[in-house]
């Protein structure tokens, strides 16, 4: 699988860290109801088909990228900077809301 970084171009999947569904970019407001946090952290549409998720260009330009891709065929359909998603007013990150990558098996 190859992913087109909006800044660096077409790159190998191994340069990217996968964070999860794009819902992670829609962090609930402080004081939001517990149900909102449950939905944000746990519940997923989990589609078999087109999905949007967050990738971090860890071994490249360090950009957070929203990737639209197909979970059945692994085809990458579109990519854009997560920052641009925010500017379009679609409930993007609030600035400090960018997720931080975590690694399995390593302490924070």
């Amino acid at each position: 699988m190859r992913i087109t970084c909006p800044l660096c171009g077409d790159r190998d999947r191994r340069e990217f860290y996968y964070y999860g569904d794009a819902v992670y970019a829609d962090r609930p407001a402080e004081g939001a109801a517990p149900e909102a946090w449950d939905a944000y952290l746990h519940l997923r549409d989990n589609p078999a088909g087109e999905t949007r998720d967050l990738w971090y260009h860890e071994m490249g330009c360090s950009a957070w990228i929203e990737v639209t891709r197909n979970t059945v065929t692994h085809a990458v359909l579109a990519t854009r900077l997560l920052a641009e998603r925010g500017q379009t007013g679609e409930g993007g990150p609030s600035g400090e809301g960018e997720p931080k990558p975590r690694r399995k098996g390593k302490p924070e």
């Binding site: 996968y18 999860g20 746990h42 989990n46 078999a48 998720d53 975590r102 399995k104 098996g105």
Partner: protein, 416 residues
């Protein structure tokens, strides 16, 4: 037809003309008391224990493909009870006990082999963690032995003990751990359920769940509508789609886990060996193939096949741990669709719809859970109450904060 050594002998002398299909291929009836969606290991064992433990036999198992064609037919067959957290411990302990009596119970050879499982550790901190885990296993009533480096060497002399990145400090030996023949587990449960009157209906995909007044009334399928008083969703990686038919959004994300098998070799690996730091585990099948796997491909996927970076990673980990396997030729690899939850533990629970139950979220540990999952799901569906050993596998535990995060990696589905 009951299977026995005498039967094999008699059939051999009689030209093997007396064997009959192990289960019927019935047409679906218009109505059942209970419909189980999903003819994999967990669905079949649920139907079997509903019939055997609760005397309920007006049951259909609906499978969109063929029986056992999903994850129960594409895993690395490891059976163990080495969990740490209360909630998981008693469940997997119960499952292992069921495994130990499974062949006699099913009258079917599932080739359960308690060859011993060794989890390797590579630092003082990891040793402490494994000592603690071993003590928890012993307190639960299961077995564990902490081995030092020489202890591991006596069991696994072929490992590269001096590798510089992860030198082997020792291992936790779980003697009752081992493997089983994965397909045979599905077939054994299918035959056992069929013999008790359960209809196993293949090539029958559920396309809708009928709900009236907050109560389930049946399912729509590619072979017509089927009414049912109770419905169980037991569909592993496809849980998201089937639950959505009942208006549910689950704490599940589906991911790909790859596994590999080599050409048949003479016996060389006697145990199940788990190399957690390299994300690599291996055993040898009775046919001689080395069966091994690694970690998830890490991104949500339904492709049932993986990508090359994880293939490379798994091969590297294997060569790091046991360079002797380097000349073995890989015959094939495959991917299974894992229903990953945000805490790495499963769900066996009621839903917001009366009469609708769900068994899902097995991450990549579902195979060893097949007996107890069916046992507990059957108990839940028959009595309406959770079984004592599965009472913490609640659907609402993510909302309430009662997580069972065995690895302590937090709310990210792909990190468990």
């Amino acid at each position: 037809m009951r299977y026995s050594g005498f039967r094999v002998l008699a059939e051999g002398l009689g030209g093997n003309k007396g064997w009959r299909p192990a289960w019927r291929d019935p047409e679906p009836k218009a109505e059942y008391d209970i419909v189980i969606i999903g003819g994999g290991g967990h669905g079949l064992s649920t139907a079997y224990y509903l019939a055997k433990n609760h005397g309920l036999t007006n049951i259909a198992v609906l499978e969109k493909g063929y029986l056992g064609g999903g994850n129960v037919g594409r895993n690395t067959t490891i059976v163990r009870a080495n969990y740490f957290l209360p909630g998981n411990q008693e469940f997997y302990s119960h499952s292992l006990k069921l495994w130990e009596g499974l062949e006699a119970d099913l009258n079917y050879n599932v080739m359960h082999s308690q060859r011993g499982l060794i989890n390797l550790f590579h630092s003082d901190g990891q040793r402490d963690a494994f000592a603690r885990r071993g003590n928890a296993m012993i307190n639960q009533g299961d077995d564990a032995e902490l081995l030092d480096r020489e202890g591991v060497r006596r069991h696994l002399p072929y490992l590269d003990f001096e590798q510089t990145r992860f030198p082997i400090y020792g291992g936790l030996l779980h003697r009752r751990g081992g493997t089983a023949r994965h397909d045979a587990v599905a077939w054994g449960y299918a035959r056992g359920a069929d013999r008790r009157g359960v209809d196993l209906i293949q090539n029958c995909e559920v396309t809708g769940i009928d709900i009236e007044g907050g109560r389930v009334t049946g399912v729509q399928t590619t072979r017509g509508a089927i009414r049912a008083k109770k419905v169980g969703i037991v569909v592993a990686g496809r849980s998201g789609q089937v639950a959505a038919m009942a208006g549910m959004r689950l704490p599940v994300e589906s991911h790909i886990l790859q596994a590999f098998v080599t050409e048949g070799l003479k016996p060389v690996i006697d145990h199940v060996v788990s190399f957690g730091m390299g994300h690599f585990y291996i055993s040898q099948s009775d046919k001689g193939g080395l069966v091994f796997g690694g970690d998830l491909d890490f991104y949500a996927s339904y492709a049932a096949r993986g990508n090359l970076p994880m293939v490379e990673h798994v091969m590297e980990a294997g060569m790091t741990l046991m360079p002797m396997i380097g000349k073995a030729k890989v015959l094939r690899s495959w991917g299974g669709i894992m229903d990953m939850t945000p805490d790495g533990s499963p769900i066996i629970d009621r839903t917001h719809v009366d009469g609708l139950y769900i068994d899902c979220g097995w991450n990549y540990g579902g195979f060893k859970a097949v007996p107890a999952s069916g046992w507990c799901m059957a108990h839940l569906m028959a009595t309406g109450e959770p079984h004592a050993v599965a009472r913490r596998f609640r659907l609402d535990r993510f909302a309430t904060g009662h997580l069972l995060d065995e690895e302590g990696t937090g709310s990210q589905h792909n990190l468990h």
